[in-house]
Amino acid sequence: MTFSKNSLFTRQELIGFIVLAAIIFLLLPAVLDNFRLNLFGKYLTYAFVAVGLALCWGAGGILSLGQGVFFGLGGYCMAMFLKLEASTPENTSIQSTPGIPDFMDWNQLTELPFWWVPFHSLTIALIAVVIVPVTFALIIGVAMFRRRVGGVYFAIITQAFAAILTILIIGQQGFTGGVNGITDLRTLKGWDIRTDEAKEVLYFVNAFLLFGVLLIAQFVRKSKLGRILIAMRDQEDRVRFSGYDVASFKIFIFCLGAAFAGIGGAMFTLQVGFMSPTLVGIVPSIEMVIFCAVGGRLSILGAVYGALLVNWAKTSFSESFPELWLFGLGGLFIAVVMLFPNGLAGIWTEQIMPRITKLWAARAGAVAPIPATSTEEEGAI
């Protein structure tokens, strides 16, 4: 097998993918008990968002602080379907209006709102998981990028959207379940999602989908589109003067990131069994950025590692030293920006890889010339 510059993977990248696959498919299920594996399943759903961010922010230079919006929209679409399945007239016979979700009954609603009705169908719900976030991203993207709004303004406005959606969900309790979110989800087409076996199956579904998303991301990065994105990030005007429609590329990558986040949200709902506005707002949205930043904003595999590591650290810290976690997270934000802006992936390609290759070369008798490691930023995996 040859690894030319134009094939989908370089040798290093392929090894990176295989190592990550080995960790996620073999190592983690082998060493973790059911409870921990379920937790890692949850972290994997964040990794979807982080991969999307690596494309938007790392490659495209668009920092969105509203990824939680798309994560939440995807998650809510899934949760609505599951909630409707759980609210059969038999299950809800004690309500004054049987057959509607319990929180609607508590809020004196007597019939299902019209926009809930399509979510009786799994097919529509699955389509909505991707289409709703993408449509939303399309509207924001067209409005903003066509007017050449970018950088910090874009970040602030996406953050405002995260705030708006949270307030809206909490305020419209009767339609959305309010601050508690949509809870008590039971089955998916009759398959109980609450059992340990189901959680394990979902973990693997998550992992497969994540690799699907990673392949798409890798394809995008390697394609001409990916190169234009990086060119745009570095010299937007020059790309524009070369005749490219900069806005369309930005809109596309932003929508792709939204689609990834939507899938992640839907999987979160399945894996964890609820969806709530605490996953939509400003704080979770900006935390999703740190997953990507810790992993290395330029690297899609790094984003996955970042999501897993930061969340794992969060869980272990909050279990033993709840007060220290915010110091740790705050310090992480500062450290990642000040000390290692390319994250773990940067440390790997800049510090560890050169040493390993040197070591190998020395072992081989120092005859073979040291293979040039990739110094291009975009070559970092």
């Binding site: 970040a155 602030i156 400003i282 704080v283």
Partner: protein, 308 residues
């Protein structure tokens, strides 16, 4: 929705809600002024702005306790001491943060955003460890209690008036500093052309640091004023940060007048709608309108014409 009320009642409602809006306006102005200096003039996104404000609020809390314990005779005057101390504390922290963090990141605005967010998390946890997770309130001096009747249907609280007066005073002070002082002239020069400003002998590094410090100090004073109308908790700053940024962006970054105008329109819209809709829907609608207008006119209401 108007038909249930008589004409005079409607008038009173609008007046009272308008006044509530004026208090909200004062709070917005106080918070946004510091941000308008830092974000508008320097282009630095300071996500920890709310925490600088809360620092001012906690300083006021400390000073009020000290006065209550040691100088009960002068308790009526403690607020003015507190305000000055709040300015100094927040300003000093601002100088330190600029020196240790911000100055390394001027070329990377998005990274500044993330780093200051990290700073805000650390400060929040620090406040929680020092002052406890519960909200604290200060005891307001007697002369600020109660309300003033304007007509038989309309009453206005005195602490609200005080905060409004303060907002006007600080706006004037910022205006004078910005447009009449040497420092203001230098800040505006740097904003227009950094390289040339440096070439004519302005110490750009020091001016940046001072600007950041003053912006943070103003935030501290805002927090100090904030204690007069609400209680202070470790995470109170985070609640307002998005609103404040929207106020500044909506007004047109770099324009002090624009900031005030946008604070006025946003706060009035929100508080008048609050009476007829639920609080959350009023907020959602206001934010949506603001974001909608920003999409049509990204440069904000009053944009400075600059060549970048």
């Amino acid at each position: 929705m108007f038909s249930d009320y008589s004409m005079s009642e409607l008038g009173a409602i609008f007046a009272m809600q308008g006044f509530a809006g004026l208090i909200l306006f004062s709070v917005f102005v106080l918070m946004a002024l510091g941000l308008a200096i830092i974000f508008g003039q320097m282009g630095v996104i300071n996500m920890a702005h709310g925490e600088f404000m809360i620092l001012g609020a906690y300083m006021t809390y400390l000073v009020s306790n000290v006065f209550a314990a040691y100088l009960p005779g002068l308790f009526g005057m403690y607020f003015f001491v507190a305000m000055i101390l709040a300015f100094i504390a927040s300003g000093a922290l601002g100088l330190f943060v600029e020196w240790s963090l911000i100055r390394h990141l001027y070329k990377r605005p998005l990274d500044t955003l993330l780093a200051t967010w990290g700073l805000s998390l650390i400060l929040q946890q620090l406040y929680r460890s020092v002052f406890g997770a519960r909200e604290v309130g200060v005891s307001i001096p007697d002369w600020m209690m109660g309300s003033m009747p304007v007509t038989d249907m309309i009453e206005v609280p005195i602490n609200g008036i005080f905060v409004m007066v303060l907002a006007v005073g600080i706006s004037l002070a910022v205006y004078v500093m910005m447009f009449r002082s040497n420092w203001g002239k230098q800040v505006r020069a740097i904003n227009q052309n950094r390289v040339m400003a440096g070439a004519v002998g302005i110490n750009t590094e020091w001016t940046d640091r001072l600007t950041f410090g003053i912006g943070c100090g103003v935030a501290g004073v805002a927090g100090s004023a904030f204690t007069m109308i609400g209680s202070t908790g470790p995470t109170a700053g985070q609640l307002y940060i998005v609103d404040t940024f929207l106020v500044v962006v909506f007004g047109g970054a770099g324009s002090i007048l624009g900031t005030i105008a946008s604070a006025f329109s946003i706060s009035q819209a929100q508080s008048i709608m609050e009476f007829f809709l639920s609080g959350s829907m009023a907020k959602v609608l206001t934010l949506l309108v603001v974001v909608g207008i920003l999409m049509i006119r990204p440069q904000g209401l009053f944009a400075l014409k600059l060549r970048k």
